[in-house]
Amino acid sequence: MPRPGSSQEDRRLIEAFKKGDVAAFDRLVEKYSRRAYQIAYGVLGAKEDAEEVAQDVFVRIYRALPRFRGDSEFTTWMYRIAMNLARNKYRWNKSRGSQRNISIDAPLDGSDESDGRTMDVVEAGLAPDEQLQVDEFERRAMEELQTLPELYREALVLRNIDELSYEEIAVLLGCKLGTIKSRIARAREELRKRLTA
């Protein structure tokens, strides 16, 4: 979560927005649109969907911010909105049988946490010129990342968002600290095995 100085700035921006300063809201977008996108992309694995969700996140915030009481940090609130919208979008895509999704069965073996849900493989979505610039290992890592079960993919993706600690991820996902550490570790280990096999 943000450093103390950043929280104070967020409160100042929110108060300014409540008084009608639209530029204050723009500043919040500039600060956090990247993270909203990253959260959404981590859940959805598709750039276009992530952009749409990121936009929806801030549209909702725009409507609701005048009533935001500040009981929690703005970032906590924003992250939760992003997670919920991304998960809703994910389930919506799944129920609609998105053309980009191919269903495969591959839960992590022996995992008590895995619910054995069918996973969806989504395309990496890289443009040809981008692919040329990306190391082969990283390209495979991106592809495999999207095949991880939702529980593990979310935890690992959130860990790689700037400045998000284990504790913050635990709060965001509503899990214990040990659970988050375990999920991240298992996600990495599973990816390592696949990538080095």
Partner: protein, 277 residues
């Protein structure tokens, strides 16, 4: 190592190595010391780091994401002028408005009490006046509105008020004017003074990187097809109108109506039909 969790070989567990990858500064020195002598664990940590790098690279958002989000949010606001939000948002204004309304009602109640005929107070207050439209998007703490049938309306409940409603009639709710997403295909008919000149001018007005896909010309008409993103299309429409082209078609996007469109960066095929005046 005495306190670290180890595998059967004496190496740290994957969880310990994963945590070390994220927070090496939290290590007491045990794991770092082990890595200095264990190539296998070093390789594992290196792969974890590369996975992190791949995940970060994969998650980089588009450069113009923030701009597009700002525009989408502005499109959601039905009052683009910040000052109007300021006016409604001030607590003193809300309190004053509530006081005025209460005072008026109180006075009329006294007056009505002297009159033998029952009076619809609310309709007396509001019946001859068009109800002010209340537009969603304002902070919910705005002064409460009173409908023509006397009920108190919460600011959030009211989308728009039908100013034509008669006394005692139920309030008519009309849909919010919301920003729309452009379809994947848009066709516009433009009326121009000089058809050949307009065709030549169009190429100069196209956004950078956008080319004409196909073009057909006739005696007094021309059809042109281009592919571009939704936001680019809106800007192009604005530029064409600024060049005194008259848009005949009413479909979105319309000139200077950026607030009516929700831009998602989607591709749109745009067919223009130019008609000479």
């Amino acid at each position: 190592m005495t306190e670290t969790e180890t595998t059967g070989t004496g190496c740290p567990s994957p969880e310990m190595l994963s945590e070390f990858t994220d927070e090496p500064n939290q290590d007491s020195g045990d794991i770092e010391g082990h890595l200095n002598s264990c190539g296998s664990c070093r390789d594992i940590v290196e792969v974890y780091c590369r996975i992190n790098q791949a995940a970060r690279l994969d998650m980089a958002p588009p450069q113009d994401l923030a701009e597009r989000i700002k525009q989408a949010c502005r499109g959601e606001a039905l009052l683009p002028q910040p000052m109007m939000m300021v006016w409604w948002a001030r607590p003193a204004v809300r309190a004053a408005a509530a006081l005025v309304v209460t005072g008026i009602l109180g006075v009329l109640a006294l007056m009505a009490g002297r009159d033998s005929k029952p009076t619809n107070i609310a309709s007396t207050v509001l019946g001859n006046q068009p109800a002010a439209p209340v537009i969603a998007g304002l902070p919910s703490a705005a002064a409460p509105k009173i409908a023509q049938n006397g009920s108190i309306l919460e600011a959030e409940d009211v989308r728009a008020v039908d100013t034509q409603g008669g006394m005692g009639e139920p309030l008519t709710m009309v849909p919010l004017r919301r920003a729309s997403v452009l379809p994947s295909y848009v066709k516009h008919v433009w009326s121009v003074n000089d058809l050949p000149g307009a065709q030549a001018r169009l190429k100069a007005l196209l956004p950078e990187g956008v080319n004409i896909d196909s073009q057909q010309s006739g005696h007094s008409r021309a059809s042109i097809s281009i592919s571009l993103r939704d936001e680019q299309l809106q800007k192009l429409v604005n530029r064409l109108a600024a060049n005194h082209w008259d848009l005949v078609t009413s479909a979105l996007p319309q000139p200077s109506r950026d607030d009516a469109v929700r831009f998602l960066g989607r591709a749109v095929r745009y067919d223009l039909e130019l008609v000479e005046k």
